[in-house]
Subunit: 249 residues, 4 copies
Amino acid sequence: MPIRVTVWNEFLHEQNDEKVRAVYPLGIHQAIAEFLGRDAELAVRTATLGQPDNGLPQAVLDQTDVLLWWGHMGHQLVDDMVVERVYQAVLDGMGLIVLHSGHASKIFEKICGMPSHLLSWQERGEGERVFVINPAHPIAAGLPQYFEIPKTEVYSEYFSIPAPDSLIFLSWYPSGEVFRSGFTYERGRGKIFYFSPGHETYPIYKQPEVQTVLRNAVRWTARTPNAPRIVYRANTPVLRPHADMGENR
Amino acid sequence: MPIRVTVWNEFLHEQNDEKVRAVYPLGIHQAIAEFLGRDAELAVRTATLGQPDNGLPQAVLDQTDVLLWWGHMGHQLVDDMVVERVYQAVLDGMGLIVLHSGHASKIFEKICGMPSHLLSWQERGEGERVFVINPAHPIAAGLPQYFEIPKTEVYSEYFSIPAPDSLIFLSWYPSGEVFRSGFTYERGRGKIFYFSPGHETYPIYKQPEVQTVLRNAVRWTARTPNAPRIVYRANTPVLRPHADMGENR
Amino acid sequence: MPIRVTVWNEFLHEQNDEKVRAVYPLGIHQAIAEFLGRDAELAVRTATLGQPDNGLPQAVLDQTDVLLWWGHMGHQLVDDMVVERVYQAVLDGMGLIVLHSGHASKIFEKICGMPSHLLSWQERGEGERVFVINPAHPIAAGLPQYFEIPKTEVYSEYFSIPAPDSLIFLSWYPSGEVFRSGFTYERGRGKIFYFSPGHETYPIYKQPEVQTVLRNAVRWTARTPNAPRIVYRANTPVLRPHADMGENR
Amino acid sequence: MPIRVTVWNEFLHEQNDEKVRAVYPLGIHQAIAEFLGRDAELAVRTATLGQPDNGLPQAVLDQTDVLLWWGHMGHQLVDDMVVERVYQAVLDGMGLIVLHSGHASKIFEKICGMPSHLLSWQERGEGERVFVINPAHPIAAGLPQYFEIPKTEVYSEYFSIPAPDSLIFLSWYPSGEVFRSGFTYERGRGKIFYFSPGHETYPIYKQPEVQTVLRNAVRWTARTPNAPRIVYRANTPVLRPHADMGENR
């Protein structure tokens, strides 16, 4: 059974800015959906801010194993009820991959419990080197020990996030910055991956190494079938008496 | 210079429930303030929900190095603006110690980025064994490798929290439960400690081992003087050119 | 392509002790290999201490994606060169699953960098409850939120190990103990899982939940195809000059 | 009572190499001991490889709250019994600060359980930027959000270490590298800090920010008075019967 992937995009830049449209004429979501869709084990659909329910009604989330999130200028336009719905879906096992400027999205901030929009940034059009610092992690499979992105937006520490559960990538920029550029969290039954490389005018999602990362991340974050179901009990015998387990039974 | 401690209590049970008043006649906050206050290195005050600004105007937070938080039935009565103020204070370096049922407080949920109110619980009046699993941690100083609480409220896994940055205590209950009962997070410049032992009718805060934990925790979470100040830069040269650092200078 | 699994057993108890032979007549390794072997995606072989090279010549490790390790009374009989070979194989990507008393094996101690043989234990023949505390982890898939083992050997904290990279299971025992009973480490390109339930005379490896854990763990620890290859450089240009990456290229 | 600090140095370069002697005429250990010694709360002594017991007989370790370790060309000359003695002392609560090339020392490798000598390096004489990524950590107190070292030796990822318990510093180098340059581990009752800045011919230990880091690290790693004492029990009642804790007592 394929992994069901939904690529979400606010889809604003592409409609308003010719420079963005030149790189991603059908939208960033379509570009990502296109290369993920070539993977026979993935069933990919897209959703956008302008659709009813911001493209994410409960029925879509219920049929999504991994949600990729691209947002930038429209973070505040996402409905709080949609954010809450995505949050609950993640806690219940839906994977979440947060892309680039999505660090400032409502959903990522809520999950971080920190003001994750805070970092330093600059558009210099210079390059970035992405180092793998956890070569055991499946998200790094198929990569060299570091790879380069020719033109990127600089994101620099300090980045206001909780210490990752697993830190996989560190980025270097020629202008003097470092950044924790790829890392994971586990929250409830859900797995989250953040990846900073990506931009609306630099064609970073067309780069093979970046596509490898996202293909790996889809598999890693995908909803685990049969994850333990949690039942919380309020002032009722939490568990059956341990006497059942003793030597005398 | 002493560590400035503010003990916050919703202070509701003690006014409404004779059983609680019998144990903590002046309120849980006063009982905690009393034993902390005997420590010459601490300057202790209290604050309660019913005071203006829920007892926590900005001026109080500005002069607080560690805030202890007791809440139970009144979580929803805490003003959202006060929660936001405490949140910003923690990110800026104020320590936070969350006690027992405070796991379900607005402030702890916001910091966790998870529904930390979710756990199983039961009031059986049985005992609890608290094991130290990180004997290097200063919060465990002065304790034996485990200690016992004669009568407690059972809190049981699964507990809906992010994996702690440091897990210090695990609790065992005779009725068949385990719990991550003491752990830390670091968020921004702030340090947070959660400790589950404590209750409004069992006199747990009068137990020497529990007092030791809280005295240690006050020191560990206390605001670090001169913590690095973070300045975020938006599309301005993030750092001075690295050419300054090369061989030719 | 199937995951290539090698189940290693010192295979001493079964030859010397009738009580053990009664439970595992062909050896613990054969019992484990039997249920893993029913999984069509796994190709399972066994190896034992008494074979040449302790059953683990380089050629076997080179064709092993996951090694399961059972040892108890014969830890000191394992050749140091074999331990070194397994260690290098793990760092290079071979998965390692350490079972029960394997916490005191040379290989696990070397990986822990701590005296992981240190814990408290007791053979009481009572039960154990194993709680899932990270329901997002694939090793917990297919399990309830906790399960019970009818008769077990008690392992108790403090357990002298490094804080796990991911703590998945906590165990409770009626006689008053808790234990970190299942957790992972990532080391180099290798993934390690330790699981304490298991014993030579209690038929724990015949229990469905335990078999589920081990089947999941084999998949989770299995060698990642195409993990990044690391090349270390000594005083040669570590990377090509960053000038290649600047605005002028 | 002051923190008792022992600064250990192999003290070889300074005797054999004029360039090193020019920077540290009395040895690196004396330079470090000098600035630490100006701190009234520290009682500082030194020890070197050439002394009996490599300068570290049991009596010295017993009176040491923090050991700083500088080694480079003489790692293999350290007696294995001394390494074992230091290892046991760390597990028992003595702090350990491993400096620069000490990443390849026997003691650090043993604690890491990984081949921590593996990293890429280059002596280019260029600069280094050290970013604070955990501003809550006391070891970062008194620092700006990043600081610069004018001339340094490049250490580059991938660095073959276990994921730190707390990652505090990340370094950037103009030639295109990043490095986890400061981090902690907790092992048993002991606390360990590794810090890569430092070198035998660049006067890095004379730089105020580096001295601040080491002064902070001495306090953070220092032996905790009254850390829990662990007693391991073998097949004796691990704990007194839980019946003691039930409702009927």
